[in-house]
Symmetry: C2
Subunit: 374 residues, 2 copies
């Protein structure tokens, strides 16, 4: 029960140690009368590669160094203040959004930010800097302003009360037609479940159908509503849940290049632009349940013609995306979709009855997870 | 405990009776060999007025009639099929999104829709038609695809299991740092609470702060995360909660024309474009806690200059919006904002400390709800 608390304490210790290490290096340099510096991983696409073994876009070893100079003095000070605020947040057991941090800086005198875009950049720098130490932005207690997804099913979440430290037990089978809304910060959560898999659903409408009809009970699973491209909190939640409970993750999205190459690919391998954070956020164990191009044929689904943007996105995936290029089944599936020239929404299964998805489609597919696209 | 179930049964009976009434009128006309017709309220702005007594934009008495003719035959048939599907949904205790309904129509032979835009229009018609009977789209079991907001605090929600009919009890004090995610359909929910008010919060970041620090416990309230302009499900949830438990509703949003005239005004009085549904969705008992233009001065908040779109929106509210024109305190406040030429985000209170909002701002404001803007 107190494992949630222990886990939190352990992670906080790592965070504070990393902040101290960076700060001590700077302090030592100054003591030696040499120029202090901070080191970031190079974030350009040239320093990113797809690692089939790890299963995600990985940042390379390229580093860039920012030394203290007349030009960098203000940013340098701001970076240190931001690190110091992070340490304070861990110590007071609190957190801050990007905006909170920006407004807090108004007390930093000459190190105060003039625009939020400036403080966002410094925060991105810090995130990259600490990612090298295996510490995420969320562990630094900087949380996103956006909502997490919704969860229902065979899962108990253990959380810790911020003020009393007491463990709170959240039973996700007990929400009626509602659901558990994932908090911004999920690092400290622990889980207990007898579920056999996690099912990540693209649309709110489909999630509501599966939840209201308690599909999770029949299929012994945990339902996650992604509502489009999943937020950071949702991705991290699924990742930690799957890692900790050793559960396979299946994605159930529209059969179109957006569902495949934006939603599914982001969930599974992350993005090339933010490769330094993929180690925390992507879910390499995810697999693609459907809707596949072959499902459109097998289930005689009503379709829409592919739009120009769909065709562009699909061709781009085939040509430039190392993930899709790595897996032949994916290249084949995308080529098949382009040849068919149509797309299908997950809700198009309603053509055979509103609950056909629950009674036929999902049970059929789940008989053969080995056949899911990688 | 079974009041949730009884309430659901009562509402379903009204829905089915309304569908029957409309259908019987059509059937009688046909029996008399005269042209059957359906009647809708006119939805143009000319048929909308602000009712200070009811507290929302209200639809007028203007009606338009659609008779069966060669030109309307297909739409007429689709309207009846959509009504019939609704009756079936109530009887099988199910629901459908707009998309579900579109795909279901693929079984309607010649009445099948070619495009989703067509089925959306027919659904809008039906919604307007039944709004005259006091029956909402949600009572017809057509649910939005979008997510609801998040809820935390001193509230127990009673829901009914769709399949077993058992009552489920959801305690919103027990979500740790997470929250209760509002389902698409809230008509059947009932509530129990000792809270003194409902606090609707604009940003996810501020909601997370108030929730993680259990502000609802200190202030004895219920927190709602609107995440921008509240969805239909969120507005209806707040309305039903406030009506049933006789709770005042306070809005806590950014001090800018978007927060005031889009978020707050939509929550409180609805919109002129969809006046026929305001009777269900708006929350006329809502009041504006802050952030007010005067708060910017009193709390020395960091600001941003008003953008052109802000100025346009504010001037438009002063000139054309019957709600803001009706209340002098609002005209004064908006004029003050224009004169100051700046806006402030609710998170700008972090300038005085991350938890200043919990320790000072909200307790100060809550001493004097009578002073809240109307």
């Amino acid at each position: 029960m107190s494992s949630a608390k222990a886990e939190k304490t352990r992670r906080d210790r790592i965070t504070v140690k990393s902040i101290r290490d960076v700060a001590e290096n700077i302090s030592k340099k100054i003591d030696k009368l040499s120029k202090p510096e901070v080191v970031f991983p190079v974030r350009s696409l040239g320093n990113v590669r797809y690692s089939p073994k790890k299963g995600y876009f990985e940042i390379g070893k390229g580093k860039s160094v920012r030394s203290l100079s007349v030009n960098t003095a203000k940013t340098f000070a701001q970076t240190l203040k931001m690190m110091s605020l992070s340490k304070e947040l861990v110590e007071t057991n609190d957190f801050a959004t990007k905006r909170d941090a920006y407004y807090q800086s108004k007390n930093w005198n000459e190190a105060s930010f003039d625009e939020q875009s400036e403080s966002d950049t410094v925060m991105d720098d810090i995130e990259a800097m600490f990612s090298v130490h295996g510490v995420s932005r969320e562990q630094l207690r900087y949380v996103p302003d956006e909502h997490g997804g919704a969860v229902a099913g065979d899962l108990v979440v253990f959380d810790t009360d911020l003020e009393t430290g007491k463990t709170e037990k959240i039973d996700c089978t007990r929400f009626g037609s509602g659901a558990y809304s994932i908090p911004s910060l999920v690092e400290h959560l622990t889980f207990e479940t007898k579920a056999k898999f996690v099912l990540c659903v693209e649309t709110g409408g489909m999630f509501q159908r599966l939840q209201s009809h308690k599909f999770w009970k029949k299929a012994r699973c945990i339902l996650i509503s992604m509502a489009g491209v999943p937020t950071r909190a949702t991705r991290r939640f699924v990742r930690r849940l799957s890692d900790q409970c050793k559960l396979p993750v299946y994605a159930f999205v529209d059969c179109d290049p957006y569902g495949i190459s934006n939603i599914y690919r982001t969930l599974k391998v992350g993005s090339g632009n933010a490769a330094h954070i993929n180690q925390f956020f992507c879910v390499p164990q995810a697999r693609f349940l459907g809707v596949t191009p072959q499902d459109i044929i097998d289930y005689k689904l009503p379709t829409h013609p592919l739009k120009e943007v769909d065709i562009k996105r699909a061709k781009d995936a085939l040509k430039n995306d190392p993930f899709f290029r790595h897996y032949k089944p994916w290249s084949d599936a995308i080529q098949q979709l382009l040849k068919m020239g149509v797309r299908a929404e997950q809700q198009s299964l309603a053509r055979w009855g509103l609950n056909y998805v629950i009674e036929e489609y999902l049970p059929n597919k789940l008989k053969n997870p080995a056949k899911f696209l990688p």
